[in-house]
């Protein structure tokens, strides 16, 4: 059946289509990506974090940051804060997919509510002497970072703030002898008297 051959042929405009033959519609979506912070209240039971992470990897969603810890030990509740990016349709999917999991109580989009505070903690190790050491201390002071460990040739700073502030501080430390950084990821909470 020669007429079936040559599936890579010319279209109306005369340009060659090199799309591979596929069982699926290979459409590109051009909606702009948004970054959202989600707070997820879950039953703290074995495997619950694996479920959440598996959802993201299995469905191809992004995780920019993920923070989790038990918040109410009596009720075995944990709070997961996830920073994710995606098109508005994908963000909506992520929320629904999380919400339908059996051990998930609530999913709140902190970005949509618009009344939330986000904080991250980082520990930043800087090594050096002389002017660099003095400058690092001065900048740490300006950023309200605390010294939590010191030797004659190094400091470990503890800094809290939003992610952008922490990134900025780390960038400033780089030329001053940055050794390593440990960041907690973002924790978020709503403003005002109401809980999630």
């Amino acid at each position: 059946m020669p007429a079936f051959a040559g599936m890579t042929t010319e279209n109306d405009e005369g340009t060659t289509m090199n799309q591979p033959a596929s069982a699926y519609f290979l459409e590109e979506r051009h909606d702009p990506n948004e970054t959202h912070t989600l707070s997820v209240l879950v039953q703290n039971e074995p495997g619950v974090l694996a479920r959440v992470i598996g959802l993201f990897s299995g469905r191809g969603y992004n995780i920019e940051s993920l923070t989790v810890s038990e918040t109410e030990s009596q009720k075995h509740l944990s709070r997961i804060t996830i920073v994710t990016t995606g098109t508005p349709m994908v963000i909506e999917q992520i929320k629904h997919q999380l919400d339908r999991m059996v051990p998930v109580y609530r999913v709140v989009d902190m970005t949509i509510t618009g009344r939330s505070i986000e904080r991250e903690l980082a520990m930043v190790k800087v090594r050096g002497g002389g002017d660099h050491r003095v400058e690092a201390l001065r900048l740490a002071d300006a950023f309200r970072a605390r010294v939590i460990d010191a030797t004659i040739e190094s400091f470990v700073f503890e800094i809290t703030g939003n992610s952008a502030k922490i990134s900025q501080f780390i960038d400033l430390m780089r030329p001053l002898g940055l050794v390593e950084v440990s960041r907690t990821g973002v924790a978020a909470i709503g403003r005002g008297p109401e809980g999630m």
Partner: protein, 591 residues
Amino acid sequence: MTDKSHDPNQMTGAAMIVRALIDHGVQHLFGYPGGAVLPIYDEIFQQSEVEHILVRHEQGAGHAAEGYARSTGKPGVVLVTSGPGATNMVTPLTDALMDSIPLVCITGQVPTHLIGNDAFQECDTVGITRPCTKHNWLVRDVNDLAKVLHEAFYVATSGRPGPVLVDVPKDVQFAVGTYHPPRKSDVHVSYTPRVKGDAAQIRKAVALLASAKRPVIYSGGGVINSGTEASKLLRDLVEATGFPITSTLMGLGAYPASGKNWLGMLGMHGTYEANMAMHDCDVMLCIGARFDDRITGRVDAFSPGSKKIHIDIDPSSINKNIRVDVPIIGDAANVMGDLLQVFKAEAKKPDIKAWWQEIAVWRARNSLAYKKNNDIILPQYAIESLFAATRGRDTYITTEVGQHQMWAAQFFGFEEPHRWMTSGGLGTMGYGLPAALGVQVAHPDSLVIDIAGDASVQMTMQEMSTAVQYELPIKIFILNNQYMGMVRQWQQLLHGNRLSHSYSEALPDFVKLADAFGCVGLQAIKPGDLDGALKEMISVKRPVLFDCRVATLENCFPMIPSGKAHNEMLLPVEATDEATAAAFAGGKALV
């Protein structure tokens, strides 16, 4: 210390499992024994309330349970051992998840102290099955077992149904603990599926329906899952509105194929009138379907001019692929009941005569037409003959996956829900034969037919032995074209007719194979043989392998080609080599 020896609720974990099955009304259990489930098998041996069906491969148990569930509306229950027993269940669990079939799978696990040790027949069952179950549990304490089992049944059958798995280490099966019957507090308080639709949204939907000029109802498997009441309400809704109705592969039978408003199935191999109606409609009412990629075709050209109402019990189905205007979260029957009530009270049937006239023109294209042949059996003709031969009988149909599945959906008319068992979402070759077993177990006196292909049927052929053992008179009707027909069709359409490994070489002689299994083998080669052989197949009260030799190179049409929209279907009479090549060429996104 109190004396617990006379407390009837004190029992071993293994006994709790059997007791829980009984408490949940389970009559049949599909399974395969092994080291890590021996204590449970020992309990099964000592009772007679739950009948165990021994399959030949764990995948067969899973699909049999799916067929059982799909044809009864009750959960299908599976019992398999650790390691390979569990990994062999991955395919049916995924299949059930995709098609929202309630399954409860109990797996044995190595003893708690060996977990993580790479013990014999150990695998991370809950880890492996986490993405292919609705929820799963590893029970480490026998006193949690009753609660988990009851919750498992609830989760599997409530909300959007699906498969669940309970992994029970062998030491927990031996350990003695306290059982309790099902109670409300067994379920996570975080799990609260919504059943009742929002009244304001229902009102909005009714207003849209009442003002429609070119409406269409698009129903899916969710209507079947919601129970027989949902299918009845769907019929009432069609009657009350006078709207045309189409359905997905999974939704066939909810509205009768003989109904006057029936457009046939929609989607890639749906009818021309169904797809055209979807494309040109002004109001679409989607009930329990999920705008799957086989349904929508090119998303950006999908039904561009319509307002869309979407009823679904799963909020994550809303706006996943297609943005809708009026989403209603809730159970199909519940929402349709409310919708009907409001519609009858506040709206009247809109005048859509002009729309029906348009539809009549599309219908007249006769998109399922095929050229008759007196010398060879065409697969379409085979299904039509089978349909004719089984008319008026209490018939259940299962299928494998491929061309035969599409022809079955196109040419077999389903009048009732729960009569059509097919692997829609996952597309699992090898589903139909074991699914037929499960259906036959649930409906021992009914006619259960697996419409199969020669390639698919070989994937789970060993289950014929199960059919013989339990005297389950399933009929395996093989459309034997000596090809993986759908693979070959796509290779013709998309890969320059290079038929890479799609020819079924060295096919077994199915008639002799039937003999070897101890069942009945039948064959039809000429169209003239067919009716007589079908009659024999139906009348014989034993399992049958029917080798129906059909045209080897027939392709399945109509078809929505490469990255095209619903209104660009390729019809069979127009599908000459040239037209087909043209339709598939130059498509940016190939189907």
